[in-house]
């Protein structure tokens, strides 16, 4: 019997579920696979439709998780095994070695400054570099360095050890081993979030071949003040300001030919937001959004799209491009599309293209499903016990799901569902405690 809850995934959904439970007095273990909590929302520049700075509204919640006496953060960790039942699950957690003593590290960053090895920065979608010893981003929680053994010279070639020499807190420990923790919890809340589909397989769009074709998550990092370009949106080919940008919707989503048939639900409105950001940074730049259906379905979203049209002169084009070609001399792009209104085949010449790819369930969901016996749907989202009446419940009593890992949804919906999962977990604690007393 346990009165604590395990939350898997440290994005906004996992954070909200943890805080709701902790604030009512429940002990929470928050497990996050990467070195910091924050998830996708930490990577976004602004959020729609209020244009709040994303990290600015998220960071206080991240810190609250860190400081909360009822929350134990288990970052850089994964769920390995789950046994038991509602009210009494035994969970095995594997904590990866950071090779840094979390107790000693103060997050001063000296090691990162002196480390000679560069590696692609995952937080910036690989657009910039980080060091082999790193903190994923400035507001990371916990603010503790991690050595990436795949790139570190000591681990790959047995030399260097610069970080150990410069660390003022003597926190570097190359001998650290993976650690296993066994937890006893009453229920489990899954909030594993999403990944972005890599559309390099869709040859017609040229992603990966043409420098000036980028993905929307890459755009978020490029327009963000803390991103690799300091918030200057520049053409990757020549570092010049783009005079025109085209956003392409439904790249791999709503696809009838084998990619992802479902709608990712958030792209129409985040592309609208990104268009407004372009206009805020560079009022002269022309912005187009090529879309199939404008799905501005949330509270205040249609009004937001109307504002983009009227105030910002964002041009919405009903079209699904057939292909993109590059002029090798200028790296400019030609988009071929059918103008839905006239039926004509048209070309649009542009400096940059931002693809809005399908958002897809995490690969890891499969491992979790295997460890727990949970059912996944045909795409790999966790399956609700009942799509209509029990969206938060799963086929296993005591295991709840929230956020994008259940089905496509935006931030407020994820937050609401996360609070909902917290309610279900709280119900389970009340119910099993009562039964035990009988």
């Amino acid at each position: 019997m346990s009165n604590s809850v395990l939350v898997v995934g440290g994005g906004i959904a996992g954070i909200q579920a943890s805080l709701d439970l902790a604030n009512r007095g429940t002990k929470v273990y928050l497990v996050e696979k990467t070195p910091s909590i924050g998830g996708r929302m930490a990577q976004l520049d602004k959020t729609f439709p209020t244009l709040d700075c994303s990290i600015c509204i998220l960071a206080p919640k991240m810190i609250e998780c860190l400081r909360h006496p009822n929350i134990t953060l288990l970052t850089y960790s994964e769920v390995k095994e789950v046994n038991g039942q509602a009210g009494d699950f035994t969970v095995k957690i594997l904590q990866h070695p950071r090779y840094v003593d979390a107790e000693k590290c103060t997050g001063c960053g000296t090691c990162m400054e002196k480390c000679p090895v560069k590696a692609p920065n995952e937080f910036d979608m690989g657009l910039g570099n980080r060091k082999a010893v790193y903190m994923p981003f400035k507001q990371a929680v916990p603010l503790i360095a991690t050595i990436d053994s795949e790139h570190c010279l000591y681990f790959t070639k047995g030399v260097c050890k610069v970080c150990q020499k410069v660390c003022p807190s003597n926190a570097i420990n190359y001998e650290q081993k993976p650690e296993e923790t066994v937890l006893n919890v009453s229920s489990i809340v899954l909030a594993t979030g999403f990944d972005t589909f890599n559309p390099s397989s869709m040859k017609e769009y040229g992603y990966g071949r043409f420098k000036n074709v980028i993905l929307s998550m890459e755009f978020e990092r490029l327009i963000c003040a803390s991103g690799p370009t300091g918030g200057h949106l520049l053409r990757p080919s020549d570092g010049k300001e783009p005079k025109s940008i085209v956003f392409v919707q439904c790249v791999g989503s709503r696809s009838q030919r084998g990619e992802f048939p479902y709608c990712s639900s958030v792209c129409c409105v985040y592309a609208t937001k990104e268009s407004i950001l372009v206009k805020d940074h560079m009022p002269e730049t022309e912005v187009y959004i090529m879309y199939i259906d404008m799905r501005a379905i949330g509270k205040g979203f249609q009004e937001f799209v109307d504002k983009a049209k009227k105030q910002y002169d964002v041009r919405y084009v009903k079209a699904h491009p057939g292909g993109i070609a590059e002029d090798p001399a200028t790296n400019r792009l030609q988009i071929y599309y059918e103008d839905i209104k006239t039926g004509e085949m048209k070309r649009l010449c542009t400096d940059m293209v931002v693809l809005c790819p399908a958002l897809i369930p995490k690969e890891d969901n499969k491992k979790i499903a295997e460890a727990t016996g949970l059912e996944l749907d045909e795409y790999g989202f966790f399956k609700s016990k009942n799509q209509l009446t029990a969206p938060i419940d799963t086929n296993i009593p005591g295991i709840y799901i929230c956020g994008y890992c259940q089905s496509p949804k935006d931030i407020p919906e994820s937050v609401a569902q996360a609070s909902g999962a917290a309610a279900r977990a709280a119900e389970t604690i009340t119910c099993t405690t009562k039964e035990a007393k009988r």
């Binding site: 206080p60 404008m294 937050v415 309610a423 709280a426």
Partner: protein, 567 residues
Amino acid sequence: MSENKQPRIGVFVCYCGVNIGAVINVPEVVEYAKTLPNVAHAEGNLYTCSSDGLSKIKEAIKKHNLTRVVVASCTPRTHETLFRGACEEAGLNKYLFHMANIREHSSWVHPKEPEKATEKAKELVRMAVAKAALLESQVEPEISVQPSALVIGGGVSGMTAALSLARQDFIVHLVEKEDELGGKLKELYKLYPSNRKSSEVLEEFVQAVHSNPKITVHTSSTVKNAEGFIGNFKVTIADHEGKEEKLDVGTIIVATGANVLKPSGMYGYGKRKKVITQLELENLIKENKLRKPKDVAMIQCVGAREEKEGGRNYCSRICCAVAIKNALEIKELFPDAEVSILYRDMQAYGKDFEEQYQKARENFIQFVRFDAEKPPEVIPKPGGKYRVIVHDVLINNTIELDADMVVLSTPLIQSEEAKELSRMLKVPLGTDGFFFEAHVKLRPVDFATDGIFVCGTAHSPKTISESIAQAYAAASRAGIPMALKQVRTEAITSIINEDLCTGCGTCIKICPYNAIQKDERGIARVNDVLCKGCGVCAASCPEKAITMRHFSDAQVLAEATAALGGN
């Protein structure tokens, strides 16, 4: 606490990465801060809000024996709690903290004028330091919270919230204005995405509610009056005979649902017999009264997504899926019937609706896309039939359809009662008419007023499944103060100087929270729990008898004097 002695102020200037640091010369601001009166320590931090930055504040409080803290960074709206928390952890009353916003008020708005932005940052810091010197410790009173909740609205959202709260072991009063539970579920036929009959689903919910001993159901009842505050609301409800009952509850959940727009005058609705709404169609199917139609034309966005000024701008989210559902239902009942859906954008978002949209196309439901500028025309023909003329943008041609029935998809709109409830509970409605939450992104079911929550279509149009998820969310949020049994309330309230008060009553009339009353001597008295510290009373008192805690005249004047260059 040595706050009455000469204050010792610590100033922490944040770079906020490049947000502030790339524009404002932070070291210069730090050096400037050191020259200000009462400043005992000043430093710059890359991110003052990081765990490292917070430890630095705590260390400095101890090391330099600081009695006031000023952080010059971003907005108190998101970060004040955090910094106050750090002060408290270091033993300093959190009201001895003050913030200067040099990001939103300087670096972000003056990115191209770094020198002027730096000067402005210095001025903002000077003002904050001047006020900080006069800050006083404050106490947030603790009040007890009754472990009982009022849920207003007995639809699927209200029932879900009530059930969850009951299973969390709280007492629940569920108030429904009609004579039975169910709300809109009573009018629907089958429910997406399950294909289950609404009546069956409803029966399960109603059974569960009625068999739960923790829930008291008050049907045919409405809320007549609500007073009090989080933890201690006093609500009066009345049944259809006018019999009143008083309920004491700790929290309130608003789940009053929405209405469907009756599109009077649009496409001849109300005058023409076979021009009906989707809900009316669904009712016909449910009651087994739909006579075999030959051609059905459904028109989307009727009275929604209007681009005109003052129009109903929003997208009602569920109407496309509802149209597809009913179109498929007609096809199943009458395979020969032709069904066309005239739409602007097909809002088949997510997993299930996109699948249904595909299924509809496979079932030969015709989709015709039109532009908002060229809406369809419905022209009556002899014999009670209609001709629908529409410009199909996908083939760039005007087409004509025969219809013996025209079905209008109209949006969900806020109910009339909501306005009354909004006034009674003092919770706001948005420009779209729906209840307006505390924060669109991160507090989707909270109201700005503590202890009151919202869920379901009272908040915005949404599906049943989404309403259920949100109802659980409201049950979680309401469950927090009730599980803790107590909450802390606002410390920034108004104080009446009894010697100056003449009992004129101006403050009583103007207070938006009904927090002021006259005592037996005829002198104004403030209820600290109800007072939200808005300051309207202090500003309007003709005798200057009212002072705001944390915003005293002396503090505000010191800040203003500093803004003008004085000390």
